[in-house]
Symmetry: C2
Subunit: 323 residues, 2 copies
């Protein structure tokens, strides 16, 4: 059995040794750039750690591991175009380094490459696995659309927000874990628990991201602090703030958040209001609740406890993550 | 056995009866709009006609038929964003009717929907079929990149152009036919002939498109005449014109084509030069040569001649097509 370090090392090697540069270079250079930017490769690691937990042969999941990360990076690439984000992992995004058309087409190609990786390895249950991957992909697109819709609305509820981040973020983490388990031939009950664990973990992960965007610093984040505020993003923070806010002051807060062009001063003002209202504490409590639920699902999976160790460690890294 | 009319009717019904509208509507309305714009549904018809020719049960290819057309429409949607095309089939393109972000994300979702359709029907050879679909998709992306690259170069050769349209246009027609044959369990030799038939047909199809863009009228085309010239597209027409042009006049022609902002007068001048140089005739001869090759490949497929009838009729419609 591999420990977490060995799994992460395997994943790292997988990407280091893979070739992404082909002709025409105008198409593949941005793909190579994106896939070599690094990141923590969480999704392939989750996939492999879950596969091992369920008794699989992780060498058979290499295609899926490459596929899930390539898909994830494709979504980031297109999201960056749509959100006009200048930076990703502290480096210029593809649409700024090249141009929008390059970002659109290289993204499309990455999506196709993800499928190439998934199709690399035969498996008796391949159709079900691909179906799981594809339905996840559709939900991720829907999540991004809801996210964009919410930017134009100012009556978004926390429930709607949770639905959105479930699709945009959580289903891909949960899908990675479930696919890893499917490659190991796991039973339906285990698949459901693993999926639910991933969903709760993913929701917690996104709320932590919202917290970090407001309270971390630019060097650690790789992007400006309070970018979500500048983008008028609906986040757990602002929606919780509006919920906690005394009714008479809600309109003022909303109005301040909607400031057309935010600067350091207006961002600072919003952050101060978050403090006053106890938003950070509320968000952290919600995170703990979701993480507890995630670990309970994992505890319920019927395999020896030592087999769960690498996955549990990975989830702990994820939940206590420092960007 | 179904005749061509029945196959086309089946394909039409397939799309008429399929639901494309889901939540969030901001995501699915542009998809519904795109997939209901119509068009000739050539690729699903080719897929089904080839399937029937090889003795398949066409009802088992409905998912693939929906999938190949949905994929095709996804590529058009993203191409329209990249090319800034205002019209498609005489109607506003998605990025003009909605916006660029909608076009990007709805396109991504259509690509995922294409996969959903392909995954709908189980098949013993599904992995090989999906692999064929996916490698085709990658080539289509590469073709679009070459097309964009060529716009920025003025030393593109006719050979390079043929390579580009092979990827951008021909492989999807050939892929549709091959996939249809794969569903029927066709042997390798037949698959190769069918694929080569599709490639030659596709190349002819694109050159005819280039001819039509220059010589048809706006009402028939659904877009302005000479749009390729306005877009400084490398087409068979201009590349052949440069080849046929006396050396001393080549620079002048190139320079006129490169005019930053074309208008009716400059487009008219280019068209006149095409006439003088005999470009239309050369393009039509090339088309005939490719079509002859395509029919020879079809003739070589070892099945009774009457089984080929609907496919041959379809290819004839395609090659003598009036837009």
């Amino acid at each position: 059995m591999q420990n977490l370090k060995e799994i992460m090392e395997d994943v790292r090697k997988l990407f280091d040794e893979e070739q992404f540069l082909y002709e025409p270079t105008e198409l593949y250079e941005p793909i190579d750039y994106t896939l070599r930017l690094g990141g923590k490769r969480l999704r392939p690691a989750l996939l492999m750690a879950t596969n091992q937990m369920m008794g699989g042969d992780t060498t058979k999941t290499r295609g899926a591991a490459l596929g899930i990360e390539t898909f994830h990076n494709f979504t980031l690439l297109h999201d960056d175009v749509m959100d006009k984000s200048p930076l990703r992992r502290g480096k210029p995004t593809v649409w700024t380094k090249w141009d929008e058309n390059t970002a659109i087409l290289s993204g499309d190609t990455m999506y196709a490459l993800a499928w190439r990786y998934f199709l690399r390895e035969p498996h008796d249950g391949l159709r079900e696995i691909l179906d799981c991957f594809n339905e996840t992909a559709i939900e991720v697109c829907e999540g991004q659309q809801y996210d964009m819709n919410f930017e134009r609305r100012n009556d978004v509820t926390l429930d709607e927000y949770m639905m959105m981040i479930r699709k945009k973020t959580a289903v891909l983490l949960a899908g990675a874990m479930k696919i890893g388990a499917m490659y190991a031939g796991a039973d339906r009950v285990s698949l459901q628990k693993i999926y639910d664990c991933g969903i709760n973990m993913g929701l917690a992960f996104q709320i932590q991201d919202d917290i970090l965007d407001a309270y971390s610093d630019e060097g650690t984040l790789g992007k400006p602090v309070g970018q979500d505020i500048r983008d008028h993003k609906k986040t757990y923070m602002i929606l919780k703030a509006l919920e906690l806010c005394p009714e008479g002051e809600r309109e003022y807060l909303q109005q301040r958040y909607d400031t057309p062009e935010h600067d350091a001063r207006t961002v600072g003002e919003i952050l101060k209001l978050y403090d006053t209202l106890g938003v950070r504490k509320a968000a952290e409590e919600k995170t703990v609740q979701l993480l507890t639920q995630a670990y309970e699902e994992l505890d319920g999976v019927d395999v020896p406890d030592d087999r769960k160790k690498p996955l549990r460690e990975l989830l702990e890294t994820l939940s206590g993550r420092k960007k």
